[in-house]
Symmetry: C2
Subunit: 712 residues, 2 copies
Amino acid sequence: MTDTMQALLHPRSVALIGASPDPNKLNGRPFHYLRRDGYEGAIYPVNPKYDNIDGVPCYKDIASLPEAPDLAVIMVSARLVDDIVMALGERGTPVALVVSSGYSETGAEGRQKEQRLIETARAHGVRICGPNNLGLISAFDRMAATFSQYAFEPPLAGPIAFASQSGALGTGIAYLARSRNLGFGYFVTTGNQADITIMEVLERIVDDGRISVLSAYIEGLRPGDGASLVHLASRAMQAGKPLIVTKVGRNKTGARAAQSHTGSLAGEDRVFDGVLRQHHVIRARHEEHMLDLMSVLSRCPVPEGRGVAIITQSGGSGVLMADRADELELDVPILAPATQDKLTAVLPHFAATANPVDVTGQFLADPNMLSDSIKIVLDDPEIHICVVWLQLMGQYAATLVDLFKELRESIDKPLIICWVGAPESAVHALNEAGICLLETTERAIEAAAGLARFGEMRRRYADHKPAVAPPVVEEAKACGNAEPVNSLAAAAALMAYGLPIVESALAKSPDDAKRLASQLGFPVALKIESADLPHKTEAGGVRLGIADEDAVALSGEEILSAARVYAPDARVDGLLVQKMVEPGVQLVLGLRQDPVFGPVIMAGIGGIFVEILDDVVFARAPVTPDEAKRMLGRLKARAMFDGVRGAPPVDLEAIIQLLCNLSDFALAHPQVAELDLNPVFAGPDGAVIVDWLMLANNGSLNALRPDEQKIA
Amino acid sequence: MTDTMQALLHPRSVALIGASPDPNKLNGRPFHYLRRDGYEGAIYPVNPKYDNIDGVPCYKDIASLPEAPDLAVIMVSARLVDDIVMALGERGTPVALVVSSGYSETGAEGRQKEQRLIETARAHGVRICGPNNLGLISAFDRMAATFSQYAFEPPLAGPIAFASQSGALGTGIAYLARSRNLGFGYFVTTGNQADITIMEVLERIVDDGRISVLSAYIEGLRPGDGASLVHLASRAMQAGKPLIVTKVGRNKTGARAAQSHTGSLAGEDRVFDGVLRQHHVIRARHEEHMLDLMSVLSRCPVPEGRGVAIITQSGGSGVLMADRADELELDVPILAPATQDKLTAVLPHFAATANPVDVTGQFLADPNMLSDSIKIVLDDPEIHICVVWLQLMGQYAATLVDLFKELRESIDKPLIICWVGAPESAVHALNEAGICLLETTERAIEAAAGLARFGEMRRRYADHKPAVAPPVVEEAKACGNAEPVNSLAAAAALMAYGLPIVESALAKSPDDAKRLASQLGFPVALKIESADLPHKTEAGGVRLGIADEDAVALSGEEILSAARVYAPDARVDGLLVQKMVEPGVQLVLGLRQDPVFGPVIMAGIGGIFVEILDDVVFARAPVTPDEAKRMLGRLKARAMFDGVRGAPPVDLEAIIQLLCNLSDFALAHPQVAELDLNPVFAGPDGAVIVDWLMLANNGSLNALRPDEQKIA
């Protein structure tokens, strides 16, 4: 059987269905490009209107083709596409690019049409890239099977692979990349992604030795795409290559029904962002940021740390860049005395040498001042990246370009040139030479930060190599069917995974509660136990800090009658009696089945922080101890863990263990749709879960129901 | 007496001291530029080496000049400058541009030289612009008295005034502005700013009818500059013109000794940022942001609101822009049904009409689709700004440019074009036509946000017109001398300004405390009273919630002995007895004398929030009720005021009143260097100051010491 991705990216033959001899027409473009660029495979135009196109035989239909083409580019009206796909399948063509539009992008009817197309394709063994895309370019093969305006000029082959759902924005990015002399070895648009996804394409490209940077522009992910994205990310790290992703929709909260706190906090993008960080994917906020990251990551070596030296010819711009570096958590360390001494030896006496280094305007008289300074700062072991700021210098363009070209041969750390108002000749020459040039202070520092971040990802990956393929988990059921699991059953299930639940017992009556409270020891908390009342506090069903037996009995009666008023039909199982716990730092932890990423784990600082600041982070299960630690480190109020106002620091290891156990629990229980552990109290000697709410899908309740009445 | 600023910006004659006939030399440039551009005033080169320069008589010294020049440009070695300034003063020249370097930028010796220069200048009645600057350009007068490379081509006169401390970065910005066809009517570099500041220059320009945008690049402010900046801001708002400021050093915390919490939280930039917001100044984060704001503010009308319509030819870029708009708190409202109906009538059936509007690729066949769509969305009363996204379109450049030019004549709301990979011809033509073009999604939306913000500032200014000139306050003494004021004296002073202090009384002994506590009513708090122990808690000097007389006596003894152990030599005035207050939302308020801005007021949410999140904001006194409200609205945890977990909302008016009273207090007490009100408890029925620490300068204590023993 033919390898689909091989056929798509490196076809030995391409059929152009609906080809036109007019290169100015959309359906004339691919033929024109393939011939212009010298594509070496066979080209089979298919169009009953022509005998030949520009001397190449043109076929009246698929059946007439001399062989089954590896790749078919379908450029005809949508109503004809299904028959063509069928015919291709019969011939044995493994994959078709359907650039035709009129599918799901046009509404309900189009969605049905797309569904039929995919069914037809599956039935006939044809994979589909598209529909409604702009085709693809495999630049090393000089194979531009595309409508994209980007191919108006022959594609520039290079170390970047770029896959884009959007043809329009993708073309804009590709065009701008070329204007910086950044070559795209692969430029694939996937359009409606009815079948082949960006992830599948890039995964094929990961090990291509000619590619050093992978990038994707994503408009939306479907169920199942999450696992592919994570797998791709893991393969990219294995290959030591950065994966840059831009995804739109970063502020839209998924409009899903959520009964738990975790569910409602798990905005689509918050989960996406958490998973990307977890899996060492670099997120670009917009197209220019993506281009800048492509540039710096394809043109600079990977730095060993976050230390940046800034060299300028103007004090102010140095401070401007240092400001931004500080915001992006780069270090701009004061240079070591030995380094400063060396700088003093080559610079005017009034030059600043601490970092930022100001070489002053004098360097124009002696350009070696600049190159010496760069070499000197890069020799400092605390400096991992050098950013040089220049402005204008029209008359010195050639000198400076030569200087940078020479320098590059003698240094092995990243050098980023920030040249404001750079003369066009310098821009061209530096891009030509593959030297990283960014024309504003902001962008230069952002690029340095991206580079430093990738260096850290690589080191972290090397230190904590995760399982290559994340475990396959049963696909989550829709959350809509999830129902609350009773507290004892839920607690038992959680405890089986080492999750520390507060000592609790279920009382059948207020009197029973007295007895259990005495056994547990005062003070105790009393809570209504009813799967019909998941939100106990609202139902008047919670009393805390009860000091003695009589108060227990009284509180128990009050809780039961409040519940009867609140929800007369609720089935009440009894009263949960719990030992009171030292408050400590209040956490809110949880899990939910994300439709895209499967089980995701949430960690947050509870109480006011989660309510007021949405102080929560997400990661996808499995969560390693290292990842759990990083999750906690991303919380806004993380300083709470260090102990505020003389409080001792909390037992971070216990929280980390708890998150890992929660992750194990999540992987083992796909039927648990949502779980809140809220609050969890963390102190110097561990963490305890004080309240919990578990929602599981229908029919899975009994399996979790334990026989025991008492917990811990 | 000649008007200095008139002479600087519109000189009738310019002397060029040290002029060279060689236009390639720095000191040859100004002569060359003035002649090239057709400056209409008299030009007097001064240089004993030449009889004439290019036919213009050259004078051997100042004394030989036929008249006192309005402006002198001094381009000689620093060692000669003082004598020249003296001679100029004797002739009656009001102002000199000292472009010579070798002053404070070079270190201690240079600082002395600069001090001598300024003393000489003052003694001889000459104002100095510089030294160490690149001169200035008054473009309407075709007067380029500068070394700047920007003048390699004749300056482009236009509606923007730009003043920059940095010559280098300023030149870069000016150059980039011209490349966008943005004209600088004035471009002034102020260098070391030994005398004339950016503020003084811009204040003169504010009312120039040819100028619509004021902008400044600031590297540092000196004591006294704060008031000028605020005054300039106020004049700009009166004139209805935006003032854009970039200031470097935004992350450096001032390295000043601070004894109070307020003092230590008042990082230099935090105060600066607060004052800018308060006084309607738009802050640009970096040079490109500044250029984008110049472009949008000089080219678009001021919008009436924050409603943005986004029109694209690609869904993804629309979402990308909507994401960013959301982050910048712009509205991207769903268009009204009537508006959508009108769009549906002109667009293909599968076009998206909700907002973002996707006109689809079809508009290339019928460009009216695009212009009609823009007109339709701008007719929607909820839409105040339209952003149009395009990419590439080389072959349609002329058509689209014409379309936008025509459109501009028929719409009166802002239109921002975001054209990714725009063809050079289109960039040129749109800039030429003065249409706002930004070439990335991020920048287009940032510009829209800047525009919307200026609209809001103008409306707010119109609604709450502040006093034109802020009151003159006595200059603050150095904080180093400030000493704690005893609590009762401080409380009396605060209460005189309506600041609500908790009921308190000073006990001379534990027994005395019993009596006072009974009078106040239990529970009470007991605190050590000693000006030598400003940090009472650390000294073991605070007990809260004391329930009865015996406990008061016991606690009193314990506090006194703890204090004796903590600081045996501390002078103890007694024990402060205070009524306990309902906690409510904990605020931390304060004031400090800022060396640049004078008295500044701080507001923050206390406890954990201020400790963990630095959740504080600053404004300069006087603080109006409107400004106080905005300060509270800028706090990260502002949602606390609405009442969390069923708590009632706090009495915001009471906090606002408290801040205004604090501001009045600050203005009336320049001798109070720092003041903490921490905590202040705010509840539904007001706010109460529970603890306070006042630091005042030497010799001002007695004036505040009251006779009373009891407060409230």
